[in-house]
Every structure is written in structure tokens, then in C-alpha cells.
């Protein structure tokens, strides 16, 4: 059974007369696989991730998403998270007055309760957080501050991967986690993601990226090119190289000519 199976997914902005953004997406992700999603700005990559994560500002008008054999679209955003879906945001919000440590404790215990596991106590959290902070090379003061408040772009991205490490999801959706990072920060974040990938052979990752650079560190099993709300071409890691060389227009042209 596939971990995630998306069939003919159509979604529009959930207002009367809202624009259709996803126009029939088909995609299968198996446990342990790494998928890269590439495409121009506005082609629907982020929307696809938001729809998978349960954002209600988008309305699914057609198609289905099955996760571990269950209808994902029937679940609330928090249920999806508790079932192991994690979205690392492209532009994470700042939440004044709520520290990362603080809400993450509540979040982890929600997930544990959901699975009938005992809640973690303060000491266990300290240990867990320390381990994951070290993985991402971040300081303790960082996660004690209000979520993302006054963080640089790079710090926000690092915080997202830190949260993913703590939440330990089955499916990680990384939305342009590499953008806004300098070379060193990219290395750290990529290393973190790789470690997470290697630690659990069943964990699947989907990454949205514009840069082939990230895909050198996190080698994808599959690459998909998205154009205007559809996946027009899928392939192995060599497809990323083709995109790099010919651009999205070139890939579109090739597909049209049936190359």
C-alpha cells in the first residue's frame, strides 16, 4: 500500500468564484521515498502541500488523497499532523507570546495521546529537544523565544526542520526549505534532513525546490515537474538536471512534442 496516493486532485481557492489552482494532480509516494517537486512560481506546488496538510482556504472540488489507505480529505489538519503528516512552511508565521519549546511540548503530547502512548514529562522533553537542537546546530535560547518572532529567513527554515525532527513524521512536506539560506545554513539544514531521512527508512519526504543544489544533498528517488496545476513530467533524479539545463519551458516543449 502506498503511503500517499493522490488521484486527479482538483482544488480551488475556497471563495465563491475562486480560481482553480490544482487541475488534476496524480502522484504516488511510497514509504521511504524522496520526491522532488519542481515548477515555476504559481504552478501550484505550495497549494498542493497546503491541501495535503489540510488548509481550509482551499476547496477540493474533485479527486482524492489517500494516506495509509485512509481518506486524508476527511481528516482535520490536526488529525493529519497526529497521523504523521508534517508541513515545513515556505513562509512560517511569527507567533508572539508562544515559544517553540512550549507549544511543541503540547503538540508532541497530542500526537502521543492520539496513538495511545504515554505523555512525555519535562525531563524527557529536555532530552528530546537537546538531541534535535544538536542535529540542527541551534542554540537553546532559539527555541525558547516566541515562535519565529524576529527570526531571519534562515532561522525560520531551521526552526521548521527542528520541529519536523521533534515531531518525527511519516511524511515530511518541505516547501522551499532551502530558499533564503546561505551556503553554510543550507549545508546544516540539508544534513539535518538527510539524517532524518536515514534515521527512519520508512519516512517519506516531498520537497519543493527551485534549486538543483539542494537535490545534490538530498538525492530524490523521483522528480516531478509541475505546470499550471498538473504534473506534466516525472522521472528519476536526472530530470532535475534536465530542468536545470533546459528550463521549465524546455521541458514543457519536450512533453508537448512527445519526446
Amino acid at each position: 500500500m502506498a503511503l500517499l496516493e493522490i488521484k486527479n486532485l482538483h482544488a480551488k481557492v475556497a471563495v465563491a468564484g475562486g480560481r482553480e489552482i490544482l487541475k488534476g494532480v496524480n502522484l504516488t509516494v511510497n514509504a521511504g521515498e524522496v520526491h522532488a517537486l519542481m515548477g515555476r512560481n504559481g504552478c501550484g506546488k505550495s497549494t498542493l502541500f497546503q491541501v495535503i496538510a489540510g488548509r481550509e482556504t482551499y476547496e477540493v472540488t474533485e479527486g482524492s488523497i489517500t494516506y495509509e489507505g485512509k481518506d486524508l480529505l476527511e481528516m482535520s489538519a490536526e488529525e493529519r499532523a497526529r497521523e504523521g503528516v508534517f508541513l515545513a512552511f515556505q513562509s512560517p508565521v511569527e507567533i508572539p507570546g508562544v515559544s517553540t519549546d512550549y507549544f511543541l511540548k503540547a503538540a508532541v503530547n497530542e500526537v502521543r495521546k492520539h496513538h495511545g502512548e504515554p505523555e512525555l514529562d519535562a525531563m524527557q522533553f529536555l532530552k528530546l529537544f537537546k538531541e534535535k537542537r544538536e542535529l540542527l546546530e541551534i542554540d537553546q535560547s532559539f527555541t525558547r523565544r516566541a515562535v519565529n518572532e524576529g527570526f531571519s529567513g534562515g532561522e525560520k527554515k531551521r526552526n521548521e526542520v527542528f520541529q519536523m525532527a521533534v515531531m518525527n513524521p511519516k511524511l515530511g512536506l518541505l516547501d522551499e526549505t532551502d530558499s533564503g539560506l546561505d551556503v553554510d545554513a543550507l549545508k546544516t539544514v540539508a544534513k539535518g534532513i538527510n539524517t532524518l531521512h536515514q534515521q527512519d527508512a520508512h519516512r517519506a519526504l516531498m520537497v519543493v525546490t527551485h534549486q538543483e543544489r539542494l537535490l545534490k544533498s538530498i538525492v530524490p528517488d523521483f522528480v516531478h515537474v509541475m505546470v499550471d496545476g498538473r504534473i506534466i513530467e516525472s522521472g528519476g533524479k536526472e530530470l532535475a538536471l534536465r530542468v536545470e539545463q533546459r528550463g521549465y519551458a524546455g521541458i514543457e516543449e519536450e512533453v508537448r512534442q512527445g519526446v
Binding site: 496538510a53 489540510g54 488548509r55 481550509e56 482556504t57 482535520s76 489538519a77 490536526e78 493529519r80 499532523a81 497526529r82 508534517f86 508541513l87 512552511f89 512560517p92 508565521v93 507567533i95 508572539p96 507570546g97 508562544v98 515559544s99 519549546d101 512550549y102 507549544f103 511543541l104 511540548k105 503540547a106 503538540a107 508532541v108 503530547n109 497530542e110 500526537v111 492520539h114 535560547s141 525558547r144 523565544r145 515562535v147 520541529q163 515531531m167
Partner: protein, 459 residues
């Protein structure tokens, strides 16, 4: 028709002036009788504020005006002991004075050991004893009967209240708690509590005023507090209003800051059917520093109107103001933040922030800054935001497994915590948190205390 209108207008006045005669005050000094008579004459002349007057435009006091309020006596204390038990600070307070309908209640009060020369007790006793001169020097000298008819009414009916006198150099670590209880009665009853706090030079102290009542009771509390902060004193003040949600609460607090005095106010309104608070701070000495923080958390049909005034009379005075409102149900609120900078008050540095969280579509906020600046070398900023819980934040928390309701509560908590975490008085903070936990049924995991301890640990 004119005559009918005139009669209607005059009836409560006649009623209240009659009450003045009912005041059972033994051996008032002649000067106080004069003060009372002058104030009552003022009230009789102007009456209650007109709805159309600028300062009262957004608060309809019709129900207060129309009701024939009896003077709430000191004797009706059924249920008072239970209220004391509920709202006491216990050993967290250095002294706890209990007032029932404005009258000092010795048996329910707890007086502890205080530094030499410190007077904390009943105003009536102070008048009768050796402190009459201090009282005379300050009582009615801060809060103006001309500026506000409710002050005139309160002053015209002064019988008792709290008197706090802190001699020069006094430091008291734990708060002085004034627990002011109002009770309803068979007939609608009003009380007019009066508080006078005189801190001489270099005093360091915390004063907490709690205004409480039994839920469901209908009464009217018309409180006036006068505070004098002597040179180089540091006064921390909390005002926690947790009246019955059927009650009417009008208050005026007048604060005088002398040279290099620091005054920090935390004013929290949770209760009251209708609340109007006027908080006026006058910086009468250079380098005085006033901080006014406010938190209003109301719902249902509650209405709360906060008018604050920061008067910069002298140069080099900073002032900070942060008012936050959490409005649920059909609650309505007004915040008017006046900042007045006198011509000579150069180098004034004033910052005002008003933020409102609307938890329902029917809640309504009216926030208006009012800056009046006559000096040319000043820095005055103000900002105001009003809106619902940020759905982007809610979604972010949900993608981490936090439930929808819990996420909204957590964000509401965090919003309020911006003010509560600044409150140094532990029992006040605890009471606000208890209230929020009860109201929102939030899991222990998500309580503010955790956030606060995080912040402390991070410091």
C-alpha cells in the same frame, strides 16, 4: 414638556442629595463636611454626564441614571466572608484590608507588621485619629469634582474608605491588598469606595485594589482612588475588577507623580455589566516615569470603557501604555488614550499601544488615541490594532497537531500574556490565569504559567 424633562433629570439628584443626609458619619471634621457639601452641590448642579458629551459618547449610563440606588450599608454582609475566602491573597499580601460597600471591615481584614510610621487602615479612623492632617492635605486634592460628576458624587458621600500613608524611605516587599467588596441588596444599592494612598519620598511599595462581588448581584460601585507618588518613589499598582457581571462599575483613579517617581499600573477588567474607568496620571516632576498597562477580558453583554490620560507637565518624563482587549460574545469596549504634553515638557518620550482580539463577530471595539502636544522636542508614538485570531497562526499550530480550539485558546492566552507576564504580583497573575482557564477550559499544558517560566528561564 420641558418641565417633565426637568423633573426627570432632577429626580436622581434629589435622591442622591437626600442620601447625603442619611450618611451616618460621626464627628466629621468641619473641613470634610465642607468638601462633601461642595462636591454634592457640584453634582446637584451638573448631574450625571450627558450621553452626548464627548467623554461619555460611547458608554450608555442610562441604567445608572434611571435607577434609585439605596446607599449600600456596612451591615449587609451575607456572603461576604465567602467572597473574602475566594479573593484573599493570604500570606502573599503584607496587609489585606477588606471593605464592604466602601466601609472598612476590621474583623475580615488582616493587618501585619509594617515598617515604623506606616499607616494602612480605615479612612474614617484616620480622620478621627492623628492622621487627619495628612488626609486633609491630599483627600479630594487630586481627583477633580469639576472634571467628572461621578467623582463629585463619590466625594459628596465620603464616609469611609482606605487610607495608606507610607513615610519617606519605606520599603514594603509584599503587596498591600485592598479588597473592596460590593454586595447587592433587596433594593439596588450603590457604594462609593474611596482610597487615598500617600507615598512620601523614596517609598518602594505595591498596592493592589480588588473590586469584587458575588456573581449575579445587581449593584453599583462608584470608586475613587487618589495616589500621590513622592519624589523618587516607586509605586506598583494593580487594579483587578472582578465584579458581578450584572453590576455597574465606575471608577476614577488620579495619580500624582513627583520628581523621579515611577508609577506602574496594571488595570484588569473581567467583571461588570458596564464598566467605566478613568485613569489620570499627572507627571508633576521631572524624570517621572509612568507605565499604564491594561487588560480587558469580557464577553456576553458586557461593556467596558477605559479612558486614560497621561499628562506630561514637566520635561524628561517617559511614559508607556499598553492596553489589550479580548472581546467575546456581544461585548463592546472603548479605549481612549489621551496624552497631553505641556509646553515645557520637552524630551517627553511617550509610547501608546492598543491591541484588541475579537473572538466573535458580534464583539465591537472602539479604540482612539488622543494626542495633544504643546512642546516641540518630544517623541510620541501610538498604534492600534483590532482583529480576530490570526487564522494563519491557527493553521500553523494545527499542522503541529494542536487542536483547533486549543490553538485558538493558546493564541488568546498568548495575547493576554503580553500584559499578564508584566504583572509582578503573583496572586493577581494567578487569578487572571485561573479565570482564563475556567472560561476557556484550557488544558494545563497550555497555561501561561508555563510561558512565563520559560521566559524566566530564558532570562
Amino acid at each position: 414638556m420641558t418641565q417633565v424633562a426637568a423633573e426627570k433629570k432632577s429626580s436622581p439628584l434629589i435622591h442622591f442629595t437626600r442620601l447625603e443626609k442619611e450618611l451616618n458619619v460621626n464627628s466629621s471634621p468641619a473641613w470634610l463636611e465642607e468638601v462633601r457639601a461642595g462636591a454634592m452641590a457640584r453634582f446637584a448642579a451638573v448631574g450625571f454626564p450627558a450621553q452626548k458629551s464627548e467623554a461619555w459618547r460611547h458608554t450608555n449610563i442610562g441604567a445608572i441614571v434611571r435607577t434609585e440606588w439605596e446607599l449600600a450599608g456596612a451591615g449587609e454582609i451575607a456572603g461576604v466572608a465567602a467572597l473574602v475566602e475566594k479573593f484573599t491573597f493570604g500570606d502573599d499580601a503584607a496587609v489585606e484590608l477588606v471593605f464592604v460597600n466602601g466601609h472598612y471591615h476590621g474583623e475580615l481584614s488582616r493587618t501585619g507588621k509594617l515598617p515604623r510610621g506606616t499607616k494602612v487602615g480605615s479612612l474614617a479612623e484616620a480622620l478621627a485619629g492623628g492622621d487627619a492632617d495628612v488626609v486633609r492635605r491630599h483627600l479630594g486634592k487630586q481627583a477633580s469634582i469639576e472634571a467628572n460628576p461621578f467623582v463629585a458624587l463619590n466625594t459628596g458621600l465620603i464616609a469611609d474608605g482606605a487610607f495608606v500613608h507610607l513615610p519617606a524611605g519605606t520599603t514594603i516587599d509584599r503587596p498591600i491588598h485592598l479588597l473592596v467588596i460590593s454586595t447587592g441588596g433587596p433594593k439596588p444599592a450603590a457604594s462609593h469606595p474611596r482610597v487615598l494612598v500617600v507615598a512620601e519620598e523614596r517609598v518602594n511599595a505595591t498596592v493592589v485594589e480588588s473590586y469584587v462581588g458575588a456573581e449575579g448581584q445587581l449593584y453599583f460601585t462608584n470608586a475613587v482612588t487618589e495616589i500621590v507618588c513622592g519624589a523618587e518613589s516607586h509605586i506598583d499598582h494593580c487594579r483587578l475588577q472582578q465584579e458581578s457581571t450584572s453590576a455597574y462599575h465606575v471608577s476614577t483613579m488620579q495619580v500624582d507623580l513627583e520628581r523621579s517617581a515611577t508609577f506602574v499600573s496594571h488595570a484588569c477588567t473581567i467583571g461588570g455589566r458596564l464598566t467605566r474607568n478613568d485613569l489620570n496620571c499627572v507627571m508633576n516632576g521631572e524624570h517621572a516615569y509612568a507605565t499604564l498597562n491594561g487588560l480587558v477580558m469580557i464577553g456576553g453583554e458586557q461593556h467596558c470603557d477605559n479612558h486614560t490620560l497621561l499628562r506630561h507637565e514637566r520635561a524628561n518624563c517617559p511614559s508607556h501604555e499598553l492596553y489589550k482587549h479580548v472581546l467575546d460574545g456581544k461585548a463592546t469596549a472603548v479605549f481612549k488614550g489621551q496624552i497631553f504634553v505641556q509646553r515645557d515638557a520637552q524630551k517627553t518620550d511617550s509610547k501608546q499601544t492598543s491591541k484588541t482580539l475579537l473572538l466573535s463577530d458580534d464583539a465591537y471595539m472602539n479604540s482612539q488615541p488622543a494626542l495633544e502636544i504643546y512642546a516641540d522636542d518630544v517623541k510620541c508614538t501610538h498604534g492600534s490594532t483590532t482583529g480576530p485570531v490570526d487564522e494563519d497562526m491557527v493553521f500553523y499550530l494545527r499542522t503541529r497537531g494542536v487542536g483547533l480550539e486549543a490553538a485558538r485558546h493558546l493564541l488568546t492566552y498568548a495575547f493576554a500574556a503580553d500584559v499578564t507576564r508584566r504583572i509582578k504580583v503573583e496572586p493577581v497573575r494567578r487569578r487572571i490565569e485561573d479565570y482564563m482557564a475556567a472560561r476557556h477550559g484550557l488544558p494545563q499544558d497550555l497555561r501561561i504559567t508555563d510561558v512565563t517560566s520559560h521566559d524566566r528561564a530564558a532570562l
